[in-house]
Symmetry: D2
Subunit: 195 residues, 4 copies
Amino acid sequence: MKIKTLALCFIAGSVALPMALAAQTATSSFGNNVVNSNITAAEVEAAQKAWGEALIAISKTYDERGLAAAKALANNVLDSAYGYNSGPVLFKPTLTHGAQTFRTTKAGALAYFVGGDSAFPNDSGFALKGWRGYAFQNAAVRINGNQALTMGKVMLTGTDGKVTTVDKTWAFEKDDAGKVRIVLHHSSLPYSPPK
Amino acid sequence: MKIKTLALCFIAGSVALPMALAAQTATSSFGNNVVNSNITAAEVEAAQKAWGEALIAISKTYDERGLAAAKALANNVLDSAYGYNSGPVLFKPTLTHGAQTFRTTKAGALAYFVGGDSAFPNDSGFALKGWRGYAFQNAAVRINGNQALTMGKVMLTGTDGKVTTVDKTWAFEKDDAGKVRIVLHHSSLPYSPPK
Amino acid sequence: MKIKTLALCFIAGSVALPMALAAQTATSSFGNNVVNSNITAAEVEAAQKAWGEALIAISKTYDERGLAAAKALANNVLDSAYGYNSGPVLFKPTLTHGAQTFRTTKAGALAYFVGGDSAFPNDSGFALKGWRGYAFQNAAVRINGNQALTMGKVMLTGTDGKVTTVDKTWAFEKDDAGKVRIVLHHSSLPYSPPK
Amino acid sequence: MKIKTLALCFIAGSVALPMALAAQTATSSFGNNVVNSNITAAEVEAAQKAWGEALIAISKTYDERGLAAAKALANNVLDSAYGYNSGPVLFKPTLTHGAQTFRTTKAGALAYFVGGDSAFPNDSGFALKGWRGYAFQNAAVRINGNQALTMGKVMLTGTDGKVTTVDKTWAFEKDDAGKVRIVLHHSSLPYSPPK
């Protein structure tokens, strides 16, 4: 979203022209006069990593500074990393069920992450469970305009070193300010076939 | 994607003009000269309904005409209703797990729906299980260009009247030909808390 | 961008189901849980009309209240109706030429509309020229996501009743806040063949 | 639009994990499982260059092989480089005027480029005028999804070495097959102020 003075660059073709042509020195003939609202694979990976870091930060904050601090942090994470500011987010957390399966509002998402909301009595605070590490195993990505879809496995490591694996789908959307936000999040425990 | 002759329509403003203005007779001042690649909520609902109808059609075909006919139909459904023609589809079926959780290729999707593929030994054919009815309970939709995201519960009814409920996320994409295709599909059994 | 409580609506299919299904009462099965960032033909027409009204308002303000008031109004119009806030706008006004043909910055656009900027010595203030009426004759529109392209003739009527016709191309973009902005504007006098 | 086998790549964070993590060897964690429908600045520049080359090729073909060959080539260029296959193209050629200013149909575009169509009696064949060189001076580009907007000056050189400059706006759109097409083209002679 940068504005710069006109970069005079040329693409010239075919024959020796009688006019003097400036050499093409910029990366592209558009110089810095480029507005590009599309999301990139690198931005998607950075957003996934930021989600993992945020989860761990909430866990550590809870262990070190208590629930109020963890809740404040989770609130900030939801404001900046999710798209509730633009309307309902399609969020199906791992451990929700029944009438409260989907958390299309920020209040519902916050309850899931840190618990303590009497309106969501089954929530015990997923982000408070001592998470210390994360890893992503992406199956594929589809990028379309300012939106990207990812699906894969996410491995979360607890304080005891135990790894929890979930199947996770995300849609990320880059807003006008260039901020990448989660607008869809479906997480589920792996299917366990009957023995 | 229609081409028609130029419709002369006007939006005029502010003051009585000395020029003769044609009356605005068309729905819009663009007449039929409109190209619109965006997807609509109605198209999304139609695609959901088509998915339900296709599942039931495969089940009934299997019961009435056998596996080969069901497999041929499932193959056609995957060709027309999913986006494998444009690259990997982000598909996490309800009952897959482990290394074969994600079915980014058409072969993997076909194996899931009708089974009988030695490369996918755990697949028993989800679409063959006697489905006779479906219902959708959408939590929300987000529409962005030619792509729409939905999340909600899907209820499938078997021949015995038993209802199976799943949590389902879809991304639908409308292609250049106006065909709406599933490019992301995450289905999971509802979380069941430990008793 | 509205958030509402979950509307439970269903699409059901194929057979009489043993489960009770709620009647589909909302316009769509998504109820009010819809986020749609796409631009519509109606929004494009409204933005064209707003451009015409703004031009006339600047002209009248100049005639009735002088240059400073007209300049302040033009500044507001550029802030709200054009996309300079997101980067360079592709603006080729009708009467510019040479090295200052393109006005990719707001300063350049303001100079064109109200003049009086020594950095743009050829600008005499296009919006100050007594415009009293406008009419659009759109040739076609192409809509793609949050962006729409229009091309057509625009007829502007002066205080003397004389009509000036230009060939005009616009690209409109709807931002995150739902505001439609001009991000491309190419205006040119009709070609006049040599006699 | 490529399908490849699942690349297992990881982004891992925060702490040494007790699980073995594969090294990240691919360019991104998505490996080759990427579908990206967005247009790039490089694709836009290539499409501009292709337009210049095509214009010169039509001119040379006319000079060397005559009108029928030039018309056949122009027809192919319109089929592959313009978006008439998807509906009306917003095309305002440099030298058109009056009721035939806009060429939203392929027939109108072909008439402009090679003439000889009694339905467009004022067209003398712009592409037949001995063009031998081209150069672009882009003012800016705006990229949004599969669509890009450019504006700038285009300099065309004739057989006599004389350079004709036009102000030109293009919208390019990348289709499902990855082909970049012109869907909007506004060309105008530079404004010449009264002496």
